[in-house]
């Protein structure tokens, strides 16, 4: 692991969060599942990092590791999650709890499931306010109302008295976003928050989040499998495969000219990039089982460019200036091959 290359992030201000060689493993009966195995990235202040990968690539587990909610049999076995000079992975549960929902918030994938069905919206918002600040019930309610207004919920006073089932999916996700924003956190981990929504509502929410992040100065980790979402929203992108980051860089550079064959495959399989009438392009094969990863590069068996050296695990390295990838045979132009 070449830590030096990672700290040379494309944007070099003091980052909000820095993840170094994170390892989160699940100790199941069938064996140890290395869901996250040496993930490193930085989240620059006020910027959006898109964390992209297929299901099972470890992106969600990375999100839960950051917020300290990895449930048994999973646990963080190595690496550091640095926030304000503190390693979150080594904080006690009580210390972590004070950060959660306060300085670091999370938005979940399915808005139909994230709000407690038997508690009113006001209860669920006020308890969040009062978990971290000593304010009166009235003040907390006031703040809840203001935040609901901020995420674009009409007549927030009435809506506060509603139960979750009285909201549509999009509205519920707005409530969840409002809850995440209650304490103006420095970082929000958003785990596919628009996947379960209609495309039109997805667009609205994305625009809303972008605006909010810009006005409040909140950094975002946007976990998704959808490259088109990341393209419009993120500043930086980290592509994950089989528990590792395989490519990392500025979003326009990576999407324009991917270095890693896997990234190239992902981009190729976005339907809008295919020509009409032509069969959709796809990456051959399946995500390998994390229980029995073959030696060497995990993408080797599906990779069109794989060669003999790929039997040895490639390190992540800066292949072009500001461009990291984990590949022995990156996709380069002839001129670059010599320099790289």
């Amino acid at each position: 692991m070449t830590a030096a290359s990672i700290s040379a992030s494309p944007i070099s201000a003091a980052p909000t969060l820095e993840v170094r060689n994170l390892q989160t493993h699940f100790f199941t009966r069938a064996g140890v599942v290395k869901a996250v195995d040496g993930v490193s990235f930085t989240v620059p202040r006020g910027k959006v990092l898109g964390l992209v990968g297929e299901s099972g690539s470890g992106k969600t587990v990375t999100g839960f590791s950051i917020i300290g909610l990895v449930d048994p049999p999973g646990r963080i076995v190595g690496g550091e999650i640095l926030y304000q000079g503190k390693n979150l992975a080594s904080l006690s549960e009580e210390e972590m709890r004070h950060l959660r929902g306060n300085r670091i918030a999370m938005i979940f994938q399915d808005p139909m499931m994230t709000l407690n069905p038997v508690l009113r919206i006001d209860t669920q918002m006020i308890e969040t306010v009062r978990a971290h600040t000593k304010v009166s019930h009235e003040e907390a309610r006031q703040r809840a109302r203001d935040t609901l207004g901020m995420v674009g919920i009409p007549s927030p006073d009435e809506r506060l008295k509603s139960y979750p089932h009285q909201f549509s999916g999009g509205m519920r996700q707005r409530v969840a976003i409002a809850i995440a924003l209650l304490h103006r956190p420095e970082l929000i981990v958003a785990d596919e928050p628009t996947t379960a929504l209609d495309v039109t509502i997805q667009g609205q929410i994305l625009a809303e989040v972008q605006k909010l992040a810009a006005t409040t100065g909140t950094s975002l980790i946007w976990i998704t499998h959808d490259l088109s979402v990341v393209a419009g929203l993120a500043d930086e992108i980290a592509v994950m495969y089989a528990g590792r980051v395989v490519e990392h860089g500025l979003v326009e550079q990576v999407l324009d000219r991917p270095l890693h064959p896997y990234t190239a495959g992902l981009i190729g399989s976005v339907p809008s990039r295919n020509k009409r009438g032509e069969p959709l392009r796809q990456i051959p094969g399946m995500t390998p089982s994390l229980l029995s990863l073959p030696a060497g590069c995990a993408f080797r068996s599906r990779c069109p460019r794989a060669g003999e050296e790929c039997g040895i695990e490639p390190p992540i390295r800066e292949i072009l200036p500001g461009r990291d990838a984990r590949c022995h045979r990156p996709i380069l132009e002839a001129a670059e091959v010599a320099s790289a």
Partner: protein, 323 residues
């Protein structure tokens, strides 16, 4: 809401009619009604007179209508043994049974909820495994035998608790209650525990299953992601969700608790409805049996109705559908 209530009431009325028909058939068609309704000590002339008086010479459907009419006026016949109206006899015994049943349900929740919660939160700890093994035992132990063992240990060997009867009672609302006196409570302790045993196991299992299911829900993880204290997550977010099914089932179990008090009351000679019905069956005091059955049916229907209404108050989603 009121439409919903009305619909439920009409349904309930339908069930009462069906049950009255079943009881009627049970008493009048399967058995010999003359034998069932007229004291076996009566002589021939008395029998003839009673047959005419009871309308047993009329066609069956007319008999059913008059049975219904009498039942509506609260006349379910006279007990041969006590020579009192059967309904009155049963109503007098009802407070004893009710306080025993409610005592048992209270104990079941008091013991079962915390144990089930613990077993659900820490499913792999040895204590939880012990709790679950205990609950299998609670399901398997025959109630009457446990009652006998309780008497043997606490009344005979240790001499801590009285073995039979209600003890000292105090009168409220014209009914006598044991739970208001210290002596009465001492008498109630063993029977209530005995009756509660099965329900404790039930509550433990329901609570544990509920906790384990709820803990996996996204909204619990989201509650934790909000930085709430573990106590708040457990007791507000998890507990309120499992309370709904547990309360429903326990409420529905009130009927079966009252029914099972037949056994407990016999073991501890607790003078309630259950003891009365067993004695009545043993001496073939059939008007009392019929009256008991009709009362139990009414009770069941009322319980079901009340549970449904409580459920709609507890779960906002049900309330909406009722509108």
């Amino acid at each position: 809401m009121s439409v919903y209530l009305l619909r439920r009431l009409i349904q309930a009325l339908g069930v009462v009619l069906v049950m009255s028909l079943i009881v009627f058939i049970g008493v009048f068609a399967i058995g010999d009604p003359v034998e069932i309704l007229i004291s076996p000590d009566a002589d021939q002339i008395e029998r003839e007179r009673a047959i005419v008086a009871l309308g047993l010479d009329k066609p069956l459907w007319l008999q059913y209508l008059s049975f219904l009419g009498n039942a509506l006026r609260g006349d379910l016949g006279r007990s041969f043994v006590f020579n009192e109206p059967a309904l009155q006899l049963i109503l007098n015994r009802m407070p004893a049974t009710l306080e025993l049943a409610f005592g048992a349900m209270f104990l079941a929740l008091l013991v079962g909820l915390p144990l089930g919660l613990y077993a659900g939160l820490k499913p792999n700890s040895p204590v939880s495994k012990g709790i679950m093994a205990g609950s299998i035992l609670g399901f398997s132990l025959p109630t009457f035998w446990v009652g006998l063992m309780l008497i043997m240990v606490f009344a005979v060997q240790l001499g801590w608790l009285p073995s039979t009867g209600r003890g000292e009672t105090r009168e409220i609302l014209g009914m006598r209650w044991s739970f208001l006196t210290r002596d009465g409570l001492a008498h109630m302790a063993m029977p209530a525990l005995n009756l509660a045993l099965f329900k404790i196991s039930l509550v433990i299992r329901l609570t544990r299953a509920g906790v384990r299911e709820t803990m996996l829900m996204d909204y619990v993880k989201f509650a934790r992601a909000k930085g709430l204290s573990p106590a708040r997550v457990t007791f507000v977010h998890v507990f309120k969700n499992i309370l709904i099914p547990v309360v429903t089932v326990v409420g529905l179990e009130l009927g079966s608790t009252i029914a099972f008090s037949v056994v407990t009351e016999s073991v501890f000679a607790w003078p309630g409805m259950g003891k009365l019905i067993i004695d009545s069956i043993n001496v073939l005091d059939r008007p009392v049996i019929v009256a008991y059955l009709m009362i139990i049916v009414l009770m069941f229907i009322t319980i079901n109705l009340v549970v449904d209404l409580t459920y709609s108050v507890l779960d906002p989603r049900v309330r909406l559908e009722g509108k």
